[in-house]
Structure formats: structure tokens, C-alpha cells
């Protein structure tokens, strides 16, 4: 493998990792507030559809991204209604949300399949894009990619340095303590669901506005589920989530280039690589005892009047 191909591989890694990064970060925020939302796939594909639709109607990619985030957040709030108001099972509700989102996007999107849009176009960041290696790898992409670089640090700052972020994380660890401190853990969980779903939706927007510039069914193709696994891989930490997203994206980009260079490894095995890697990473992390870093109250509903 020559140097040029290697640099191109790293650039492709960033592009493949970006939608995973948004979706993983979104689910991470939701889970840190104590809510398990398995509806990532459904919210992500609806985000992709909202983004496509608004882009198609208005031609404004920023408005489209906002619509994707808000639309996905509204879908996420359905999960909140089931789990926070009616105390429903979080796992079941999340799965239902995925089925609902995938089905609804197919139904609403049917008339638009194959329609193309402009969306975001790549632009080079002045000066930074001229740096050898780092330039082509990080600074010759779409605006949504650049925004995603800041996201892990912004989320980390929010969790650690703002009282709202601390209360949100505390609601995932010990809702009773939050209650005792005079705050409302349910309200924090609403926030966790909405904010998390917003970023999941933006991850979907990346797919229809940057990656493909079009609408078709099954645009997410399981990426939402990968994000759910990546949250565990990341031990619920924002920066590790970024690493996980790029590792996963990198493996996907690598296997395509390995095929192109010529290999005798069967393509079915190559396709398994990212998933095999996920299983290995999960095994490795739980063997080291760090896999138990899940928020203590994750998936547990807060009983009313507690």
C-alpha cells in the first residue's frame, strides 16, 4: 500500500466515521441521562428524510440539518412519552421506535426515491487544508464533518463543567440524589432524550445531504445499530466515542481498498470485519472490567412520586 493510498484511506475513514460519530454522540447523551433508546436507527433514518425533504423544498442545507435534528427530537419525544410519562419498558419502546421510523420514512419517502439534491458541498479550510497529510485527511470535507470535530469536546465540557450537564449525568447515575438536590430528574431525562435524538437526526442528515445527496429507502443501512454498540465500546465517554466511530469507519474504508488492491480473502469475511472488531472490542473492554461503566440507573424508569 503506497503512501497516497494510505492518506486517502484516512480521509475516507473520517467521512465514513462522521455519521456514526453524530449518532453515537446522540445516543451517548441519552444514555448518560439514564434512558436507553434503541430507536437510533429509526430516528436517524427519519432525520435523513427530514433533511432531504427540507433541502428538496427550500434548497437550504443548514435549514435541512436543523429540520433533521428537530424532527428526530420530536420522534425521540415519543420514546419519552412512553418511558417517562407511562413508565413503559425502554427496550421495547426503543425497538418500536426503530420499526416505526424505518417504516414511516419508507412510506413518506416513497414518492421521492432517487430524487437528487445539492446538499452540502466539500470546501477546503484555508491554510489548514494545505498541511501535508492532516490537510487532506481532516480539512477538505463538508461543513458537517468540521462541526463533528468539536462535538466530543463540547459534550465533555457540557457533562463536566455545566450544572445542567452534571444534573443530566446524575439522573443517569442516581435519580434519587438529583431529586434530593431539589432538581427534577425526569426533566433531565426529557432533555437527554431530545438533545440525544437531535444529534442522531443530524447524523441522518449527513447521509442524505453529504454522503449521497439523494433520498432512497434504507439509507442508514444499520448504522443506527452500530451507534448503539459504539456507545458501549466508548464506555459512555465522548472522546472514546469519536475514536470508536473512526475505528469503525476506518475498517469499512480499509476493506474496500484491500479488495481494490487485490486480495484472496473472501468478500463475505471482509464484510464481517467491522462487526467482528466490535465484538472483540466489547470482549476486551469487559475483560478489563471497564465495560461496567454504564450509568448506574440506565434503563430504569423513575417511579412517579418518588
Amino acid at each position: 500500500m503506497t503512501w497516497d493510498i494510505f492518506v486517502a484511506l484516512l480521509a475516507a475513514t473520517v467521512l465514513a466515521g462522521t455519521p456514526l460519530l453524530y449518532a453515537t454522540m446522540g445516543e451517548l447523551i441519552t444514555e448518560r441521562s439514564g434512558v436507553l433508546n434503541l430507536g437510533v436507527e429509526g430516528m436517524m433514518i427519519m432525520g435523513a428524510f427530514f433533511a432531504f425533504f427540507v433541502q428538496f423544498k427550500t434548497g437550504n442545507p443548514w435549514l435541512a440539518t436543523l429540520a433533521a435534528g428537530v424532527g428526530a427530537a420530536c420522534l425521540g419525544l415519543l420514546h419519552g412519552v412512553v418511558c417517562l410519562i407511562f413508565q413503559g419498558n425502554q427496550t421495547v419502546s426503543g425497538l418500536a421506535l426503530t420499526i416505526f421510523g424505518v417504516g414511516l420514512s419508507d412510506y413518506l419517502g416513497a414518492p421521492f426515491i432517487g430524487e437528487k439534491t445539492v446538499g452540502f458541498q466539500p470546501f477546503d479550510v484555508p491554510l489548514l487544508s494545505d498541511i501535508p497529510v492532516l490537510g487532506p485527511v481532516f480539512f477538505q470535507h463538508d461543513p458537517l464533518v468540521y462541526l463533528s470535530y468539536v462535538l466530543p469536546w463540547a459534550v465533555m465540557w457540557f457533562f463536566r463543567r455545566t450544572s445542567l450537564g452534571l444534573a443530566l449525568c446524575a439522573s443517569g447515575e442516581s435519580p434519587d440524589a438529583v431529586q434530593a438536590a431539589g432538581l427534577d430528574p425526569v426533566r433531565m431525562r426529557w432533555l437527554g432524550i431530545a438533545a440525544g435524538a437531535f444529534f442522531v437526526g443530524v447524523g441522518g442528515a449527513y447521509l442524505s445531504l453529504c454522503a449521497t445527496h439523494m433520498w432512497t429507502h434504507n439509507l442508514t443501512a444499520g448504522k443506527g445499530w452500530i451507534a448503539v454498540a459504539l456507545v458501549i465500546f466508548a464506555f459512555w465517554r465522548p472522546r472514546r466515542a469519536m475514536l470508536g466511530a473512526y475505528l469503525f469507519g476506518g475498517i469499512m474504508a480499509f476493506q474496500l481498498r484491500l479488495q481494490a488492491l487485490g486480495t484472496s480473502i473472501p468478500s463475505s469475511l471482509m464484510m464481517m470485519l467491522p462487526y467482528a472488531l466490535t465484538i472483540l472490542a466489547l470482549l476486551f473492554s469487559s475483560a478489563r472490567g471497564k465495560g461496567r461503566n454504564a450509568p448506574a440507573a440506565l434503563g430504569e424508569n423513575i417511579s412517579p412520586g418518588a
Partner: protein, 360 residues
Amino acid sequence: MRFLNYAAACAAVIGMAISPLVSSAYAEESAKIKVGFIYVSPVGDEGWSWTHEQGRQMMEAMPDVETTMMESVPEGPDAERAIKNMCAKGYNVIVATSFGYMDAMVKMAKRNPDITFLHCSGYKHSKNMTCYFGRMYQARYLTGMVAGSMTKKNEIGYVAPFPIPEVVRGINAFTLGVRAVNPEAKVRVVWTRTWYSPDDEKKAAEGLLDVGVDVIAQHQDSASPQTAAEARGAYSVGYNTDMSSAAPKAHLVAAVWDWTKFYKKFIDEYRAGTWKNGNYWYGIGDGIVDISRYGDMVPADVRAKVDAVKADIVSGKYQVFTGPVRDQEGKVRVPEGQVASDDALLSMDWFVEGVIGTTK
């Protein structure tokens, strides 16, 4: 997770698909020939299902034919239910255009001897069931000649869906065409294991372009390999339909289907009572497979050369897979002076010399 997607898709599709069927059940009985089509993908994708939909719309325009269609019907139990439904609604002819519908079609054909079943891309047929397909490899050979003439780096990329004989045969014919005009050129294959996934297919094309190919060919239904080629200033070869609108500056030529000719022939003979069920494999001479118009960048001498070979294939003077054909290891698979049999073509699981990749 795939299952969930399918479950969701099924729920949406069945809901949409049942309503027109239910309403048509109350329509007046007429003497019209009723033809029902079942597609595996949405029609709007301008791919495989779209090429068959052109045939349905042509029939629908005939005064004595009434048609319906169901799109995005998953292979498996849903397909059988869809076929059964059409049988119950009094359809005379049922057309299903995906390989995975085969066993459901066979089963329903046995139970409904008065209904004619047309199944595209399978291999089972009976007294009231026809299997039909096209010799797309002939068009692939011609598009390979164009690609081989236009490559400057002598490196061509092929974005391929699944390693099955139909696809392997296409890659081999394409490569034989490439090397007929450019013996130095190589064809690099990347499998996506998707029939229609614009994002995956775009990424596969980009992987090939990173490695240094300057022409991209494809077998999937999405045009995203074409747009990926255009974005990097490379050339592209389309499939299914003329994909030049997706990549006007890159699109050299496409290997295309024209199923309207088949459906016209079928409905005329069915109406006259002369249609015979069987196994049909149509070639470029029947007009069912062809190549699209050339992109403006293809020079006149290349066009003339390709058109001459096309005429020879139509007249039967030349056949693709005429020996000697060597495989990747250099072993002679088709001896000099012989032509690969249809059986050999239908079970092809090896790559010809000049392909870089694996059939596994």
C-alpha cells in the same frame, strides 16, 4: 437488525399494496387480460424494476389489458402471499422479476394451472410457468471495449454486488471486451454485497479510484458509482438504464435492458393463444439487451469498432467467450475454437485473466 428493517418495510408495503387490490376486487368482471407485476425494489429507482415497469405501462396502455403492480415485495413468505392474492383476484398472468421469487412462483403455478406465470432471472419452468432472462454479458463485452479504449492508466474498477454466476459472467465478459482492445488493462473488482445501497456503492467506487483506476463500471441499481467517478474526473460505464443524467461528463456508455420488447411479444402471443411457456434467454439480437448511446467523449473510431462487433454478435458471426479463454491462473477454461456452453455460462464461478479480485 436487517430483520427489523424488513419487518418495518413489510408492514408499510403490505398496507399500501393491499388497498388497491381490495378495491379492484369489487370492480366489474371484464374480458380484459389481467396482468399483475411483483417487484423486489421500488420502481422509482430507475434500475432493474423500472426497466420492467416500462413493459407494464406499455401493456396498461393497451385497451384489452388491465395491469397492477406491487413494488418492494420482500423475497420469502411475503412474495408468496402477494402472488396468492393476485391469483385470488382473477389475474390471468403473474410476472415476478426477482430471483428469490422462484420457489413461490413454482408453488403457485402448480396450484393454479390456468394462470400463466412469468419469472425473470430464475431457471425453473413448467407447463404454465416461463423463466426468462437476457444475455446481458453481450452488452457487457461491448461496454468493456469502450472502457478499454478510454482508460489511460490501464486500470479499470468494477463495483460488483454479489459473487453469483450472473455477476461473475458480466465481469468476465466486460474484461474480455476491455482486453480485446487493450491487452495491458486490468479490471479491479470490489464487492459491496448490496443491490441498491447508494452510500455503500459510492464508497466502493471511491476505494477503487483511490487505488488508481480511471474508469468505473458497476452492476448495482444505484447511479452513485457514476457520480463518484465524475467527482474525481474519471470515466464511468452504466448499467440497467442510460445513467448519463447522473454523470454527464463521466458516462461513456451503459449496458441496458429493454424489457418492453419481451412483454410486447408475450402479450401479442398470449392474446393470439400461441404463447408457449419455457426457458428463454434473449440476446442483443432480440433487442432486450443493448448498449446506450455513447458519451460525447467517445471518439468516432472507438464507436465504429464497437458497433462493428455489435453487428457481428447480432448476426451470430461473433460470440463472447470464444476460446481461448484463460482464467486468473492462466489455465485455459475455454479451448481455442470453442465457445463456452450456456451451462458453463450459467454456473460461472471463476474470473478470466486480467481481473484482480476473488469470486468468493
